[in-house]
Amino acid sequence: MSDLRELYQEVILDHSRRPRNFGACPHCNRDAKGHNPLCGDRISVQLDVEGDTIKDAHFQGQGCAISMASASLMTEMVKGKTVAEAKILFDSFHNLVTGGEANGVDLDKLEVLAGVRDYPVRVKCATLAWHTLAAALENSHMPVVTE
């Protein structure tokens, strides 16, 4: 079970059971949908972007513990960040879960998802919310598909 605890850290279990910023966001002005056909995960991300700043971030959907926790942690982390900062954070997070080089950005509690790098098939679970966030920032209404 020790390998499992590496992957499913307590924070992940907590966020998957009680996702933060979960639910509709009537005042948000950006949104995008993401779908992982392999596991059937569906997610939508809503953002309130004012000027250059992400004032609020919400998500809805269903998926595995990794994808739900990743989405929940993401919404917490991007709140208050500028669009540019959020994009850099996505790059850094992507490196974290795919085993790429760290780029010096403080990932804070996103670090709990580092274990995903040892499970290549689960990387898409961890990044679905982030790809969907990127689409929302672009205001793209083409659904994001990861597989």
Partner: protein
Amino acid sequence: MTEQTARKPASPSSDRRNVAFDVERVRADFPILAKPMRGKPLVFLDSAASAQKPQVVLDAMDKLYSEDYANVHRAVYELSERATAAYEGARGKIARHINAKDTREVIFVRGTTEGINLVAQAWGRNLLKAGDEILITGLEHHSNIVPWQMLRDQIGIKLVVAPIDRNGELIMEELAKSITPRTKLVAFPHVSNALGTVTPVEEICRMAHAVGALALVDGAQGAPHFRPDVQTLGCDFYAFSGHKLYGPTGTGVLWGRAELLEEMPPWQGGGDMIRSVTFEKTEYNDLPYKFEAGTPAIADAVGFGAAIDYLDGLPWDAVEAHENDVLLHGTALLKDIPGVRIIGEARRKAGVISFMIEGVHPHDIGTVLDMEGIAIRTGHHCAQPVMDFFEVPATARASLGLYTNRADMEALARGVRKVKEFFRV
């Protein structure tokens, strides 16, 4: 090369009916089952996706490549003759295994998917017209949906779907209502890959024939669990995969009644499928070569033949009884665990237990079981309409082969309890 296959004895297993099936001996024939997985004994429960291979299959392919390999059907030299004999020998074995009237009715394809596509394009596209109907069911794998949708978009046929009920069984009254004089083909699975439902093949074939329609059986999941007798089943086409039948990947068979295959034009052009070619005109080869353009998967077909020999050496009544016992045992163990829901509870099932654990996503189930050395499938199993019907995004699926034993089911049940404990549900 169009010799009739010898009719097999009326009841091939009658002389073995009382022979017990020794699953442990069978397991020893499959080298991969002895390999540890994540430091634990491998519990392989994904045979519906692809089955493991017995040593005799590996040896047959190795021998062909080491001693008898050359291209088939073309050359005058000894080696090519040996390869051709091995390749055609495999066709003959398969023809006898499924009780085909004639070896020519056995078309080698890459798998069930290609077999169905062959019928859609060679038969459907040439012999159907706009407004004709093809009936499929709510149980289908994508490979018995998409080829017909492509045909619909090409020539304007209508695709009709017969519904299933909450147990995952076909609703036969609805199926009967959907078969009309406009129906030209009923295409349905022998066994559902997502739920394990066994369909009443013979009855559906009779219903199709009553209106002059043909019947195509997707045998991908049927052929591994039953010994299909195409004449008794009464279908017109039966497509199945070698790799799910303990043979190599890239092999499969479309069986069709000779008179239907004769009237179907080829679907792919190239070498081997011709009799003569000039720049003005081509004369096509006879069955089955008409449908086998290009160099086939020679060694793989020979391996498939070896798998058939292996299966034919087993007491099939006992194999079916064993598989059913393991399936019922596993189902009972899982149902005994609070929060576990079985998806698909047809009265007759084979080979598949699809399930959910309340509060845990199937992917997380799969990862936790993997840590225990237990390989199951999680996802939509290429049957998204089935998932939609049960309003689930995915299921966890444990699927069985003839080497699966009761201990595998007990390991699965222990694993599921561990999943619940880990996620505290």
